[in-house]
Symmetry: C2
Subunit: 455 residues, 2 copies
Amino acid sequence: MLYRTSLAALLAATTAIAPLHATPTQGSGVAWDIVEGITTEIGPRPAGSPAEARARAWGKAKLEALGFKGVAIDEFKTSAWQRGEEHARLTAPYAQPLAITALGNSVPTPAQGLEGELVYFPTLDALRAAPEGSLKGRIAFVDHAMRRAQDGSGYGPYGDVRREGPGIASQKGAAGIVIRSAGTDSHRNPHTGATRFPEGIVPIPSGAVANPDADLIARIAARGKPMRIALTLLGKPNPQAPSGNVIGELPGRDPSLPKIVVACHLDSWDLGTGAIDDAAGCAIVTAAALQASRGGQLLRTVRVLWAGNEEMGSGDGGADNYARVHGAEKHALAMESDFGADRVWQVTLRLAEANKPLGDRIKAALWPMGVVPHPGMADGGADVGPIIARQNLAVIDLGQDGTHYFDLHHTPDDTLDKVDPAALQQNVDAWAAVLGIVANEPGEIVPVPASTPGE
Amino acid sequence: MLYRTSLAALLAATTAIAPLHATPTQGSGVAWDIVEGITTEIGPRPAGSPAEARARAWGKAKLEALGFKGVAIDEFKTSAWQRGEEHARLTAPYAQPLAITALGNSVPTPAQGLEGELVYFPTLDALRAAPEGSLKGRIAFVDHAMRRAQDGSGYGPYGDVRREGPGIASQKGAAGIVIRSAGTDSHRNPHTGATRFPEGIVPIPSGAVANPDADLIARIAARGKPMRIALTLLGKPNPQAPSGNVIGELPGRDPSLPKIVVACHLDSWDLGTGAIDDAAGCAIVTAAALQASRGGQLLRTVRVLWAGNEEMGSGDGGADNYARVHGAEKHALAMESDFGADRVWQVTLRLAEANKPLGDRIKAALWPMGVVPHPGMADGGADVGPIIARQNLAVIDLGQDGTHYFDLHHTPDDTLDKVDPAALQQNVDAWAAVLGIVANEPGEIVPVPASTPGE
């Protein structure tokens, strides 16, 4: 519809009241201010970029202003990746532009692009079953069927299309690969994210198309007509890039007790402004530490870690650097917030049988907030994995509702408007309740033995 | 979150069943086949483009295959517009990329772009109030507060930011203008659409940013810090471009009776594949004409018009050409479907008092489908406006639910997955019910007198 000139316009014009300003969602409080500040004043901050460095300076100033002690930036070098020009279109059997983005660790096509047959695989298993050499000179397309799940568990198997697909396609001789985005939305915003090329496998240009574009490719494949694609993806690895962790502490009354580390990551993918991944996490852990100590200084020191380079998963990121630099300091427990800004609905523990009373107090504190216990084993996540592994730490996971997380994850749509201030505050409340308990625990906090099934 | 390596993955891997293929929404029937076919086999088809010509050939073949008679393409020349490279970023006070698209009828920036101060106006009225010359060398930003409405009426006043804003900014001396998209979603997909520069006003580069980007600009403006933007918009007018209308008929038993014309438009904006705007409209009117005649040949001839160039609103588009070429043929009534693919919920008539029994039969037929009468006056819309004006025709508007129409309108997100097959069929059923009544009406079908308030 262009414009109905007569009645509708007349009716609308007589009822419209000019607003003084647009009214986007606004929150308040420490957590909101952090998410709003990072997304507004920094924006996209890919690992190893000048924007990530600006974010570190911003974070250091913010933690100092909030009263954290010992605020410091631990600088390190990291394996990053630099996006370049990127576009693609089907050239046969129908001319159709595609909404595409390169995957982290992709290598560039020639500047003028690649053009070749696009071979449809409905699943990663179908790609695995392709004969060696059968993709020589061709470009693989791998489809999948990821759907929304509250616990986000679809990201495990369906995310493997992104993580493993490019390496497998390369082994089969492919000149490039395009995958259906590892995402659950229906917007023309493809999902980026890092892929991995195992040692000895030649990296190939690797991209993801948006779900509606993958639907289009699937419909054309179903017609049985050969497809061709023109593919330009000029992103390339950026090794030895500067990154850093920002840390700060609320010192405990008894500094001799092992500390509690609460983590998030400061880097983001470049397509959005990293509101839910993971400015929200930094906002939640930081605001919760302050809120937990509102009633008086906590017994144990709580350290916040705003980690650099989480997204590349390169083994030399912020979490790895933290374990290396701070691995000699005694920690009791690690927690991470890195799954968006929606409400906490589930708590999972990794506590020894001796800590059952502690665990029960945590569960009891969370019940009134709508948080149910999960019988499995907490793992902490990428931002704290290395320090947990190094020191065999106790872990508490506060599981956020991830139903819509993969609608936004690693897309241009990861922006502030997706953060619900009320849900953000529920996170802070849940985290503060847990920190108030564990950071005031005088007894030993110990994990289940390392040999327990599940770890 | 990068990837929780242990428990979540383990759990997920054990429960995942590899699907044989992805399962995007699929419909069936004539209407679905038309929307699916146009979006899959043609895709974006901007006015005056080779893709629009391919769509005409596709449409002609389709109407012939469906049994329409006298299928023809009426070719004409039209004022079109050609998109070019487009990108923008804030350079101060914070470096932030912006999701932007040019508006139709925009003129190009220099190839290397413009860079200048971005001046924030909360409303179109605020821009109107700016002193003459006050924007010299600057770039205007105009915000607004469009919200979802079932009848889409917000597009009247808020759409004026797009239609009139650029001309007003030019009058104030602006070097360019950026507006908040005339849209109701929160995705990084800006909404394009035609703007108008009145006679004597110098056209300027004109673009729209996505709503999250407009929110960002509003937040920065609220901080009171001067903003600067680097703006590259290379789209330009494409005058005298080839377009055409596709027409076809189901001949009536009495060819001497004035015919009924049911219209849609075949062109689309280039960002999406024009599923809801307006492949769905062509699908609905065409399938409904066939469905209405399923019980036997209709009394009056029903002509379908798949119009070329509706989107540029240039006064020399498909609707204008139809009235010029076919203005001597006797029509009784015109109807248009050009407001998406969601359910019909409202019917509005333009029928003389003498036709009250006819109107009552139409309303009674629609009641069981959840369609309520609207007391106002039907206007038909852009695709049939000129023939209605020329012949003073009776009109029936079947109002679709537009709550989410402006989430998708003129964006990359206008793709097949947004069409609900059940809602599409409800449209066909409602249209077929109305066509079955009006095309079998032996008596005169007359509009209210031209002088009646509302027209």
